[in-house]
């Protein structure tokens, strides 16, 4: 068999019921699926029949990386964790959580492209991987402990260079809203309780091997420098957020917020970010301070530095030092996270004494990070917090709790925005203590069902941002028009796709975005001005599909879909163009398997199709258009009264959305009436056997 670079070559299999450990050849079984979600979906299709439930021992949970992990390719430190999603309502379907950190590279250095866990251990265990030595150990000492203590205990055994991915009490107690975390703050949401159901507390990895690059060393180095040259700031924002001498453009909404005079004020020696000219590749890590982006200038004073994943120059996790929280709340004064993880605590509150950018908000963030990342609680992209606010202020919590339980919470503290309230709520969620905490831990869909609230009630409230199947929107129509709407239809959790939003938020002026859009998707009409949406256009369907393929490729290679794609750049000499063949160039040089952009996109389409096939099989119907790809009522709500396609409105037009769906399915080669891929489409992308199985059950149109 041909020897490829990139892949480690083995997939590690662990059956916790039998205590059996073995390996499979990656290339023989999984090469066409690349890695990451591709391997995850393949395992789920082959081994987990429809009707299996998330906590059944027969369910698999797959930690998969891919050929680029561990190669040093920028932004390649991602791990996809695929399983039956316990939050997907009303029936669990396949989905993936995604984590950064050091896990992906360490797994590769130990010699594996994926770890597939099945079965259920008789009692709590953790998995130790040291290269070829793989052992299941009793977890008596660490079961019941927080993630930090468990991680430290395993690191004491395995050594300081081990990486540990662990669940907290939330996962152990089968709270669906739970995570697995590696490297302090890098979490994969929604999957913690599946590990808990298997009695698996943690996976520790020490890898001493290396990854072979198939191409020439100098070509690889040249390609990495090329990638670094077109990389921007956090989320591939390519202009600074304030005027800089080197920049033609600036956009206050950009996360590239370095500027001379802005300092990491809590570093041992204050560090000035400087102006961060994009040609200075040694200062890429200074470009973005995510905490300051969300929490304002005060966060600069508390910034120690940025932190992030293996081989990623964008340090999107900000390390913050806030001494006041140690005295007030008895928690560590240092914490770190990014985006919703950073904001976990603050966003519970409707009102904070001095706003989201004030001191109390910063303290709430520190408390939230401390509790959530140790207890292992997930926010479901902020849905936990949005649900909580709506439930409380609409009087639903009071209605559903007995008086004694309701009074056990300090609601005055909550209303006043006191971070101490989080100590009352979050540990109870992790322990399933009481009706409120138990309901919140179920996730939105199951919570609504438990309390007899119709999904329609949630679907019509734009502020609560609910989409369908128990999950929220994620960069949908409100900010990306029809493209975002289409992307939000597909998955069984929030879409987790940033391909489109990173382009639209990249900070380039609209005429430049339209120019690049015309080159990428065939017409400038692919993109609209924010809040000035125009009718559906075929280029919008192409942009949506391109975005989805980039997401699946990124989740499988892996590359970070939070940082990429890199189709715009900060370089005016390139006309601000990036390069969407970057993924195929990296893949080809790393593996030696020669694929151009189209060739790799076809592999992405295969992975994407397999996800669709799993969804169709799981639901037992091909009527995806009406039963799965649903759109919440708030999308059509006109809050301005001015009508669709007028400036200042974000509402969509029902006829136009029907047109959008037709174009989208048509462009994908899916049946327009049902939204199901046709048999010939499966065949075209190398999934004939999948198409045949589905056709045999009348689940694949001809």
């Amino acid at each position: 068999m041909r020897v490829y670079g990139g892949w480690a070559g083995k997939v590690l299999r662990v059956d916790l019921t039998a205590g059996r450990i073995w390996t499979e050849d990656t290339i023989a079984r999984y090469k066409d699926y690349l890695g990451g979600t591709g391997i995850g979906y393949k395992v789920m299709w082959d081994e987990v029949p429809a009707g299996t439930m998330p906590y059944d021992p027969e369910n698999r949970i797959i930690f998969a990386v891919g050929p680029l992990a561990g190669t040093g390719a920028p932004c390649s430190g991602r791990t996809a964790v695929t399983t039956l999603w316990p939050l997907c309502w009303p029936i669990p379907l396949v989905a993936s959580g995604h984590m950064g950190g050091q896990f992906a590279a360490k797994l590769k250095y130990a010699g594996y492209d994926a770890v597939v866990i099945q079965g259920k251990a008789a009692r709590p265990v953790w998995l130790m991987i040291v290269d070829q030595k793989v052992e299941i150990h009793a977890a008596r000492r660490i079961w019941g402990q927080g993630i930090r203590a468990a991680t430290a205990a395993i690191a004491e055994i395995m050594g300081p260079d081990a990486v540990v991915a662990a669940i907290g009490p939330a996962g152990e107690n089968l709270v669906p809203m739970s995570v697995v975390i590696n490297d302090r703050s890098h979490s994969a949401g929604g999957v913690g309780s599946v590990l808990g159901s298997k009695n698996l507390k943690a996976i520790g990895i020490r890898g001493t091997g290396s990854i072979r690059i198939a191409g020439k060393k100098e070509d690889w180095e040249r390609l990495i420098k090329y990638h670094l040259a077109i990389i921007g700031g956090n989320n591939q924002h390519v202009v600074p957020n304030s005027p800089q001498p080197w920049a033609e453009h600036y956009d206050p909404a950009s996360r590239w917020n370095a500027s001379r005079g802005r300092r990491w004020g809590a570093a041992a020696h204050r560090v000035d970010t400087g102006s961060c000219d994009p040609r200075d590749m040694n200062r890429i890590a200074y470009r973005s301070n995510v905490a300051a982006f969300f929490l304002g200038d005060n966060a600069w004073n508390h910034t120690v530095r940025g932190n992030g994943c293996t081989s990623c120059p964008i340090r999107c996790h900000t390390i913050l030092k806030v001494p006041s929280v140690a005295a007030k709340y008895g928690i560590p004064k240092v914490g770190q996270n990014t985006c919703v993880g950073l904001l976990f605590g603050a966003t519970f509150f409707k009102k904070l004494p001095d706003g989201l950018k004030g001191k109390t908000s910063l303290e709430a963030c520190m408390v939230g990070m401390h509790l959530a990342d140790d207890l292992g609680i997930w926010s479901n992209y902020g849905q936990l917090q949005r649900d909580f606010k709506k439930l409380y202020y609409d009087g639903i919590i009071k209605k559903n709790l007995d008086g004694r339980e309701f009074q056990s919470y300090s609601w005055k503290k909550y209303e006043e925005g006191d971070p101490a309230f989080l100590f009352e709520l979050l540990p109870r969620i992790a322990r399933k203590e009481g009706e409120l905490a138990t309901a919140l831990g179920l996730g939105t869909g199951y919570l609504l069902a438990r309390w007899g609230i119709s999904e329609e009630e949630w679907e019509k409230d734009k502020e609560v941002a609910y989409w369908k199947l128990g999950h929220p929107k994620h960069h949908a129509s409100e900010e990306t028009g029809q493209c975002g709407l289409l992307i939000n239809l597909i998955y069984n959790r929030d879409a987790q796709c940033h391909s489109h939003s990173n382009f639209l938020r990249n900070g380039l002026p609209l005429p430049l975005q339209k120019k690049l859009a015309a080159e990428l998707w065939g017409a400038p009409e692919a993109v609209d001005a924010l809040g000035d949406y125009r009718p559906m256009h075929p280029a919008k369907a192409r942009m949506a599909i391109w975005s989805l393929l980039r997401k699946e490729l990124h989740d499988s290679l892996p590359l970070c879909n939070w940082m990429g794609p890199w189709v715009a750049s900060p370089l005016r000499e390139r006309g601000y163009r990036g390069d969407d063949s970057l993924e195929s160039m990296l893949y080809t040089l790393a593996t030696g398997d020669n694929k151009d952009r189209k060739g790799l996109d076809d592999a992405g389409m295969r992975i994407f199709l397999l996800h669709r096939a799993l969804t169709i099989r799981g639901m037992g119907t091909k009527e995806m258009r009406t039963r799965h790809d649903r759109i919440p009522a708030w999308v059509y709500e006109d809050q301005t009264g001015k009508g669709t396609f007028t400036k200042g409105t974000t509402c969509m037009d029902r006829d136009d959305v029907r047109t959008a769906l037709d174009m989208f399915y048509d462009e994908l080669g899916w049946d327009k009436a049902t939204g199901a891929p046709t048999r010939s489409t499966y065949r075209r992308f190398g999934l004939d056997s999948v198409g045949a199985v589905l056709a045999g059950q009348d689940l694949a149109p001809r």
């Binding site: 304030s242 005027p243 453009h249 206050p252 005429p511 924010l530």
Partner: protein, 221 residues
């Protein structure tokens, strides 16, 4: 490009000094005026320069044709050096829109594109033209290019560096001064004020965008 080599020991010309000074100012994110350049001594010698030597303290001259010709030759000989004036203040994004060509005309300034972009130099020109012109030109350019309002907070940041009081005063004056009728304000629910130009955004659109930029975007990270 010329004038950037090692001139140690050679007699330095006015052009050498002018080019070096432009680059020095640009590296410090500043412009230099034609008047300042023309005031440079005509010639001097870097090595063992004697300031009392006849001719060294001569200046190139005032605004006459000779001075203009020298400056033109300076730009021609140095690819990176650029001239910008208040009258030449439209960005390429909004080029062709004559409504933007109202920034106060004034004497030309000079910068090096090695250190400053035209956009940044233009911003510095607006800054020299006065606070009202700076605010208006910035808001118009941003509204035109991005179809979005701009938070007042931006003007507290470098290179604007308004104080809150200064910003308030400027906005009050702007409201009573002819020529700025298109500059309008809207507020987000947080109370944050955003400015926009009515030439590019209508009130409802600006209000929706301000709310998104101030609240919505942070809630949708």
């Amino acid at each position: 490009m010329t004038g950037r080599g090692d001139k140690t020991g050679e007699r330095e010309t006015w052009a050498d000094r002018a080019a070096a000074l432009i680059r020095e100012r640009s590296a410090a994110a500043e412009l230099i005026s034609g008047a300042e350049l023309r005031a440079l001594p005509a010639a001097e010698n870097l090595a063992g320069h004697d300031a009392t030597e006849a001719g060294d303290t001569r200046e190139i001259g005032d605004n006459g044709e000779a001075g203009a010709a020298l400056l033109a030759r300076l730009l021609e000989a140095n690819d990176d050096l650029r001239e910008i004036s208040g009258a030449d203040s439209c960005s390429q994004i909004t080029e062709g829109d004559s409504s933007l060509k109202n920034t106060a005309a004034g004497p030309p300034y000079y910068y090096s594109s090695l250190y400053l972009t035209e956009a940044y130099a233009r911003l510095l020109v607006h800054k020299r033209a006065g606070p009202l012109q700076l605010i208006a030109a910035t808001v118009r350019e941003f509204s035109g290019a991005y179809r979005r309002p701009l938070a007042v907070d931006m003007f507290m940041q470098p290179p604007f560096l308004f104080t809150e009081e200064g910003m308030r005063t400027s906005l009050d004056r702007m409201a009573q001064t002819a020529g700025f009728e298109d500059i309008a304000a809207t507020s987000a629910a947080t109370g944050a004020t955003y400015l926009y130009s009515k030439r590019f955004l209508d009130e409802g659109h600006a209000a929706m965008l301000a709310e998104w930029l101030d609240v919505g975007q942070a809630a949708n990270p």
